[in-house]
Symmetry: C2
Subunit: 310 residues, 2 copies
Amino acid sequence: MSDKPSILIVGAGAIGSFYGAILKKAGCRVSAVLRSEYDAVKANGISVSSPLGDLSYRPDNVYRDGDTPEEAPDYLILCVKVLPGVDRVSLVKPWMGKNTRLVLIENGLDIERELADAFPDNPLISCLAFIAASRTAPGVVEHKAYGKLVMGSFPKGIDESCQTLADLFTEGGIKIDLTDQVVGERWRKCLWNTPFNPLSVIANGADTLSILDAEGGEDLIRAMIREVMAVAAAEGYPMDEKVIEQNIEGTRAMPAYKNSMALDYLNGRPIERDAVLGNVVAIAKHHGIAVPHLNTVLVTLRIRGLLESA
Amino acid sequence: MSDKPSILIVGAGAIGSFYGAILKKAGCRVSAVLRSEYDAVKANGISVSSPLGDLSYRPDNVYRDGDTPEEAPDYLILCVKVLPGVDRVSLVKPWMGKNTRLVLIENGLDIERELADAFPDNPLISCLAFIAASRTAPGVVEHKAYGKLVMGSFPKGIDESCQTLADLFTEGGIKIDLTDQVVGERWRKCLWNTPFNPLSVIANGADTLSILDAEGGEDLIRAMIREVMAVAAAEGYPMDEKVIEQNIEGTRAMPAYKNSMALDYLNGRPIERDAVLGNVVAIAKHHGIAVPHLNTVLVTLRIRGLLESA
């Protein structure tokens, strides 16, 4: 029995499987709760190919919904998409112990509150993943590039459990940026995601440069970033004007690519519309801030029925 | 030989063929310039089924591009779509005589200037068609409902040639609303078309009620109408606030339907993006009026590559 903490991954898609592999490599016991992939993983474990080497592993326990856990994990890592049709509280509740730290590796804004409210006595660690990885078959994940996590305690600070988890990830071989303002980091990431992701979907999966190169495209992106910044500032996270051009130039410096929401859309998967866009518009409304560009895109997605039922 | 005026239809699709039939019924000589449908119409004439009866006719002359006209027409009626790839001046130039009145039955805003500039000595009559008609095969048109024309001299007034044409259409059996402010009427029609048409396209052909029933849909339509109204007011066509709710209620009072731009999109035909939306945004910019909702929709269409090359 390792003296390293025990880990339970809930939602072992590409992201959960990969970060589980890293913690396994760091010497943790890593178990997983699965749905459709239960049989494949039970039989063959999780296959993870990566520039870091072959990270394939067999979870210590493989559960499915409704199973009774052998023990409450030290860390429960939730990696499901944030969709209105997915009740994340119900999903994690059976597995949470008195001392379980809840870890979110998920996209979007204002996605922690619901869980923090449901489990007020458990530390909550919020993470943003910067990674290119995809699930190519049941239990099979291809890690292509990157992998950094930005990580902090929610709503702010860096508590001991957060520091411990960061050390384990580092030991497993990935880069961790600890922050005592993880919500601010979410806003920072949304400066890019909130304009580019939904626009690419409305444009039926357009890549980054198609968006920027269209007549008026750069200015539309600027206007949307500006609206996100106004809302972030009202929430206590003011940012320097120069991040606007940094986002544009950074995107231009990379080859054209389709972002993860565009890929979800093109593959017929639900999109995290509200986590990435709808919540920003809702917070803007709460502050009385006009966000006409963001709102037009949001309502257009709704008209298209790009709801995000799971 | 009739003493009624001679008519030449340029762009004898559903609209041109139908209004040509009406003028034929009124006793005019009606000829047509055709492209792809030349052979069919030369052989069989134009078939027009209509609630008004069978309006089929054989044009007095059937021309194609490059032909030499036997005589310049008294009225040249231009019914092609307004698309950047279609040079309307070149299209009508060979057929224009010294006394030819140029008649536009076309959608959109700011679509007359180019022709008025090219033919400054010829009266220009601008018409808006309220009609449901479609071309079902080469030379075959199905008129389903309506047919009213709103008509006036450009840029304003009702000159004698306009009155004469109105009388002929009336004699042929359709309703004419003469206006001495036809540009204002275009703005009035665009209050509806400019929001609904492009939104339905972005929403991949959504019908009217899908747009209004989406969360935030009605308010987005209101915001877009309001922006069109602000531009119209700056152009000298102020409108009463109440037209906003009238447009919403009028749309709700009808069964859900797909507008003509949505149908063009769904049938793979080019859309009149700039005539209906781009020109409004350009005029707004000229006046320094912010139209963020309209602009977001316009740029999104551009990103999608829904240019309107013919």
